[in-house]
Structures are given as structure tokens and as C-alpha cells.
């Protein structure tokens, strides 16, 4: 007992001093170095290169404009609680505004309202809120259009053979988040498939659709999903993928079954650097590139302007958001769609 007691005392002392040091360091860290306006950037996760690039863009722009940028991210895709806490922290810090990529488009809305009521400018990036006008402005890729670009490319590349194509859809997740159905349905529209309900995939009855499998937006999911669909329809010749990691995984499955001879068209969306390199290597036929760096930089500019004279950014009244653009990247261009080569795309890529 005595021995145990001594150990406890020692531990407590150690712990106290560690805490004291940590607290001192923390105070030094959070104390403002100068009185710059505070702005925030909240992303879904730390890990995704898309958000890493977004943060880089915001950081550069904030420095240029003399703003103090505070960043935060959820622990995983769909982590609403961390984002709520991050917004509350920005409100207490007296931030002028922030940009956020919402993990949960609906659940975050009440907290966004609280921030706007407190006088902050809220700009939503990449994934629109539900309802979209719950934010001051939305800067995003038109994901439906991005899908349409690759769908049209695939149709025009096949020409007459598009009528009896067999298409594999490698989607994101079974709960069909916004970006998932927008890209999928955009592709279908571009390819000339009757999409029925545009807010849902899986309700179509076009015989050219082999099926929809989920990838989680990663390589391992992409490979398994492709293998499964190839077993279902060995004659697949067009593959739609939600993003480029999923496309890379799908290609591994095609390769393992000796179908990497160019007889299967693989299409994707994102325009990350590994993805663009895969277009050059012939792994991906075409991809739609989006511009996260631009989104974040534009948001920082908008908040700086708002802090200066109170003007809010304008968005496209028809779309309801400001389209930051999507460009088709392919080395096999077709007449119907404007595109740039993988070499040009590599200069603009992220991640």
C-alpha cells in the first residue's frame, strides 16, 4: 500500500507539471501575435488531398490579404460534431467569417445560422447545404456538369456502338450523398440515359446499365466493386467512377482479368495529380477536373471584402451557387466536348 501511494504521488506531481507546461505552451500558441482579422476554414477531413490543397490555397491567399487563418477539420467524412465545435470556436474567437465544406449538409444548418446571426460571413465550399441558401454564398464545382462532361465524352468516343454499351457504375456510398448522385446522374444524362429521378441513381431501367456498386471513393473499394460487376456482366466496356482512386482500383481489376488493352473506357472525376497522371498513362480515358484551390482562395477574398465594407459575394441566380468550373481532361478528344490534354491538366492539378 505504501509503495503504491508513493507511486501515485510521484505520478500526480509529474502529471501536474506536464499539464502546467502544456497549458503555458497552449496560451502562448493561441494568443494573437497581431490584431489581424480572423477567418476560418473548416474541411471534412485532414487526410483527403482535395482538402489539403484547399487549405494551401486559403493559407496563401489569407497571408496575401493579411488575414489570420484558423483551420479545422472533422475526424472522418460525416463528422458533424467536430465541425459544429469548430464553428462555435470561430464565433467565440470573433472571426469575421469562414469557409466550410460541410460533412453533413443538413445537420450543420442550425449552427451556420447561429454564426450568421452573430455577424459572420459563411461561405460553403464544394458541397452545397440543404437548403443551399442557408449560407451567404456557395462556391462549388457543378458536379452534375462534371459528370455530364465524361458521359458525353464516353458516348462520343463509342459513336454508334454507344447504343449497345455495357456500363459499370462505381459510386461512393449506399446513402447516395449529394456529390454521389449528381456525378452519377450527370454521367447518365451525358451518355443519353433516361435518369428518371435526378436525385437518385438505381431507379433507371436502361439495359445498358450493368449495375451500381459502392467504392467508398478509394482504391480497394474500386477494385472489389469492379470485380463484382465484371462477374455480373463480363462484356462491360464503359466504367464510370466517382473519383480517381476508385478508377485506379477498377483498372487493377481490369488488368487482372486481361481487360487493360484499351477495350474498356474508364472515366472519372476530380483532376487530382495522380488522376491526371493516370490519364496520361492510359489508365483513365477522361476525367473532369475541379479546382479546390480556387474555391478556397475566392472564399478568402470574399471574406476580406466583407470585413472591409460589408459587401457579400454574388452567386449565379440560376444555379444558386458560384460555379468554380470543371474541365474535361483527355488525350483522346472528341468533337462534342471541349477538353484539355493531360499535360495541360497536370499544371492545374491538385493533391
Amino acid at each position: 500500500m505504501v509503495f503504491h501511494w508513493e507511486v501515485t504521488v510521484k505520478r500526480t506531481t509529474l502529471r501536474t507539471s506536464v499539464f502546467a507546461a502544456a497549458a503555458a505552451a497552449f496560451v502562448a500558441f493561441v494568443a494573437p501575435a497581431h490584431a489581424a482579422e480572423i477567418v476560418g476554414l473548416i474541411t471534412k477531413t485532414e487526410g483527403n488531398p482535395f482538402f489539403v490543397k484547399m487549405r494551401e490555397g486559403a493559407q496563401t491567399k489569407a497571408q496575401e490579404l493579411g488575414l489570420e487563418l484558423r483551420t479545422a477539420a472533422g475526424k472522418f467524412d460525416g463528422d458533424n460534431d467536430s465541425q459544429v465545435a469548430a464553428i462555435e470556436n470561430l464565433i467565440s474567437a470573433g472571426a469575421k467569417g469562414f469557409a466550410i465544406v460541410p460533412s453533413d449538409s443538413s445537420a450543420i444548418v442550425p449552427t451556420i445560422k447561429k454564426a450568421r446571426d452573430a455577424g459572420l460571413l459563411v461561405i460553403v465550399l464544394d458541397t452545397p447545404l440543404d437548403p443551399m441558401d442557408a449560407a451567404d454564398a456557395t462556391f462549388a464545382t457543378d458536379n452534375f456538369k462534371a459528370g455530364e462532361l465524361i458521359g458525353t465524352w464516353a458516348k462520343d468516343t463509342l459513336g454508334d456502338k454507344a447504343a449497345d454499351a455495357k456500363i459499370a457504375f462505381l459510386d461512393l456510398a449506399a446513402n447516395q450523398p449529394t456529390v454521389d448522385y449528381l456525378r452519377d446522374q450527370g454521367f447518365m444524362k451525358g451518355f443519353g440515359i433516361d435518369i428518371k429521378d435526378p436525385k437518385r441513381y438505381g431507379d433507371e431501367d436502361d439495359a445498358r446499365i450493368c449495375g451500381h456498386e459502392m467504392t467508398g471513393g478509394a482504391e480497394d473499394g474500386g477494385r472489389t466493386a469492379m470485380e463484382t460487376l465484371l462477374q455480373k456482366c463480363p462484356d462491360i466496356n464503359v466504367v464510370y467512377t466517382i473519383n480517381e482512386p476508385a478508377a485506379a482500383g477498377a483498372y487493377e481489376a481490369l488488368k487482372a482479368l486481361g481487360k487493360d488493352d484499351g477495350s474498356v473506357l474508364v472515366t472519372s472525376i476530380d483532376g487530382g495529380c495522380p488522376g491526371v497522371a493516370n490519364v496520361k498513362a492510359g489508365v483513365i480515358g477522361a476525367t473532369s477536373q475541379q479546382y479546390p484551390l480556387k474555391m478556397a482562395a475566392m472564399a478568402m477574398e470574399a471574406i476580406a471584402k466583407f470585413a472591409k465594407d460589408g459587401t457579400k459575394p454574388q452567386v449565379d441566380p440560376k444555379l444558386g451557387f458560384l460555379d468554380t468550373g470543371a474541365t474535361l481532361i483527355t488525350d483522346k478528344p472528341v468533337k462534342g466536348v471541349e477538353s484539355i490534354t493531360s499535360e495541360e491538366g497536370a499544371k492545374l492539378c491538385w493533391g
Partner: protein, 362 residues
């Protein structure tokens, strides 16, 4: 397979025969259900085998020849390889009445260390590979030390290290994916487990088997041998069954725990190697669900979360069950959400059967 049953420490004291004799004496008084219960208690691994068999039968009817093609079945084997290897590590931990939530993070961290050292920093692939394995081993060792020496609950320890190793994944990888072509150019060794060979089976077709799947089976046999035929293995079971009694019986339970977590960490690193083989690339995004999928395989394979009871073979079959159901349901045209539903139901059924079998020993 009778090694699976409880009473390990009893076995070590030489009491194992007692229980069996009493059971045979009462055999005439039992109904068929009780007899089944006793049979399963004696051979618990038969449960997952039966479930797998039923699954194959159902899908052979529902999805027809597409499912029961040998090519498709060999694909299922490829698909479950990562989870099965991870499941082997998880089984060892769960047998000690622990849990390791960090297996998926260790797997990805190890694969990224291997990949980045070889591809980005130009370290010889063989050395990069060994350093990757070492990374997994150290991660496991840290878990083991915290569980055994600091005496924190395994759930808490690995919940914490899961976050820490996950953060290291982001730090080391810089959230960048190394493309398949870049890995192939710099370090083909890392992709070797993804290469395959063909096994023609007359009248049925051709199976494609990857070296990763072969390694999985060899690893399972090795760990099965260690757990069932060596003193260390029996100590693992005994520690999980009743840590205090094991300690009183002279087993160094701390050392056993540290060794188990360390070995599990190393196996996770091997799973990372398998992952590179399967996806070709080195990606920080891979294996997001691997953690829970591995636990699912262990549980469906009949290993008790309370420790001391279960087997490696069960886990292998558990992983195959999940793979077979997902594949079979997909080929039958069932939507993904119902595939998820089915896997959830399998877990509940597996644990229900496990509890029912356990009642005998109570």
C-alpha cells in the same frame, strides 16, 4: 478442432477428461437440440463452416452459374485476403480478452512507410519493406506495453493509438497517393503479393490465385500451430480465459500480452503489404473499413469477444462468409444497402449462437 474449446488451464492441469466423461454418461437423456448444442460446444468451428456452406448453396441457386464459377469463387478469395490477414491479428488479440481498434491504422501506416521510403526517398525496396514491417511491430509493441504494463483497458489503449497511428498516416503520406506505375517502377517487391497464377480445374474453369491469398493461408496455418501446439499459444488462450488463474498457474501474463500485441502489429504490417499488392498503389485512403470488417470476420468466425475461445480457422471462414455474402448478393442483383443489412444480421446470428453454445460451460 477440439482445441477450440474452453478449459485450457484445466487441460494444462490434466483435468480435461473429466468433463467429457460426464457428458457421455448423460447422452441418452438429451434431446436432439441439446445434442447439437454439445456437439457445437465441442467443435465450435463447425458453425461458420455450416453458414459458409449454406451461403454458397443459396447463392448458387439465386445467382446461378455466375456465382458458382470457379473464377468468381477465386475472386472472392482475393477480395477477403486483406481482411482475413487483419482478422488473424485481431483473433490473437481477442483471444486474450482484448480488442485492437488500431489494426487498420497500423496496416495502412506500415504500407505507407514501405511505399514512401522506396518510391519517394529511394531506399532499397528490401530495406523499405523491412522498415515497414518494423513499423507495424513497434505500433503493436506500444499497444502491448500500454495494455500489460500501464494496465489500461485494451479498448481505451487502441482507441487512442488508432487516432495516433491515423494521424501518423496523414503525416507520413502527406495525404498523397503513390500511383501503381510509380510503385511498379521503384519497388515491384511491394506489389509482388498481387501477382497471381492460374489453376485450371477441368470441367469447371480456371481459378486465379494471388500470392497474397497463398500467404494468408500459410500465415493462418503458422498462427494456428503457434496457438495450439506451443506453450506460448496455450498461454494466450489461458490469459484470455481467466487472467488471474493463468497468473496463479505460473504464466507470465504480462509477457504473453506484450508478445501477442507485438505479433499482431507485425501481422497488420503484412496486411499492409497485401494491400499494396491488391490495389497496386500506396494510398492513405485505402482500408477505411478494414478495422470493423476484421472484427466482423473474427466474430462471425465464432471467436468469443470475452476471450479464451475461438480459432484462426474460424476467422478465415468468417472472412470468407462476409465475402461470399457480399459477392453473392451483388450478383443476385441485391442493392448495396441490403448487403450491409445482411452482414449486420450475420453478426447478430453468430453471437447469438456463440452465447447459446457457451451456456453449457456455465
Amino acid at each position: 478442432m477440439s482445441d477450440d474449446v474452453v478449459g485450457v488451464k484445466a487441460a494444462e492441469r490434466g483435468f480435461v477428461g473429466g468433463g467429457a466423461d460426464v457428458a457421455s454418461f448423460e447422452v441418452d437423456h438429451r434431446g436432439p437440440l441439446r445434442q447439437l448444442q454439445h456437439f457445437l460446444h465441442k467443435y465450435p468451428t463447425t458453425v461458420p463452416f455450416i453458414v459458409l456452406l449454406i451461403g454458397v448453396l443459396i447463392f448458387s441457386v439465386a445467382a446461378g452459374s455466375r456465382f458458382f464459377a470457379i473464377l468468381n469463387l477465386s475472386l472472392v478469395l482475393q477480395q477477403v485476403t486483406i481482411i482475413a490477414v487483419l482478422g488473424i491479428a485481431q483473433t490473437m488479440i481477442i483471444l486474450t480478452a482484448g480488442i485492437d481498434l488500431s489494426v487498420g491504422a497500423i496496416m495502412i501506416l506500415s504500407s505507407i512507410v514501405m511505399g514512401r521510403l522506396a518510391v519517394v526517398y529511394g531506399v532499397p525496396p528490401e530495406l523499405a519493406f523491412l522498415l515497414g514491417l518494423l513499423t507495424g511491430l513497434i505500433c503493436g509493441l506500444i499497444n502491448g506495453l500500454l495494455v500489460a504494463l500501464v494496465r489500461l483497458p485494451p479498448f481505451i489503449v487502441t482507441l487512442g493509438t488508432w487516432s495516433m497511428y491515423g494521424a501518423m498516416v496523414i503525416f507520413v503520406s502527406r495525404s498523397e497517393t503513390l500511383r501503381q506505375q510509380d510503385v511498379a517502377a521503384a519497388a515491384p517487391l511491394l506489389q509482388w503479393l498481387g501477382s497471381s497464377f492460374k489453376v485450371p480445374i477441368p470441367g469447371w474453369g480456371t481459378a486465379i490465385i494471388t500470392y497474397g491469398s497463398v500467404l494468408m493461408i500459410l500465415l493462418a496455418v503458422l498462427i494456428w500451430y503457434v496457438l495450439n501446439r506451443t506453450a506460448f499459444g496455450r498461454h494466450v488462450y489461458a490469459t484470455g480465459d481467466d487472467s488471474e488463474s493463468a497468473r496463479l498457474a505460473g504464466i507470465n501474463t504480462k509477457r504473453t500480452l506484450i508478445a501477442t500485441y507485438t505479433a499482431a502489429g507485425l501481422i497488420c504490417a503484412i496486411a499492409g503489404w497485401v494491400t499494396i499488392g491488391r490495389i497496386g498503389a500506396v494510398s492513405p485512403l485505402a482500408g477505411q473499413n478494414a478495422n470493423l470488417d476484421a472484427i466482423t470476420a473474427v466474430v462471425i468466425g465464432g471467436t468469443s469477444l470475452f476471450g479464451g475461445r475461438g480459432s484462426i480457422i474460424g476467422t478465415l471462414v468468417g472472412a470468407l462468409i462476409v465475402g461470399t455474402f457480399r459477392n453473392g448478393l451483388a450478383l443476385s442483383g441485391v442493392e448495396v444497402l441490403w448487403q450491409e443489412f445482411a452482414v449486420g444480421a450475420l453478426i447478430i446470428i453468430a453471437v447469438t449462437i456463440d452465447q447459446w453454445i457457451r451456456k453449457i460451460s456455465a
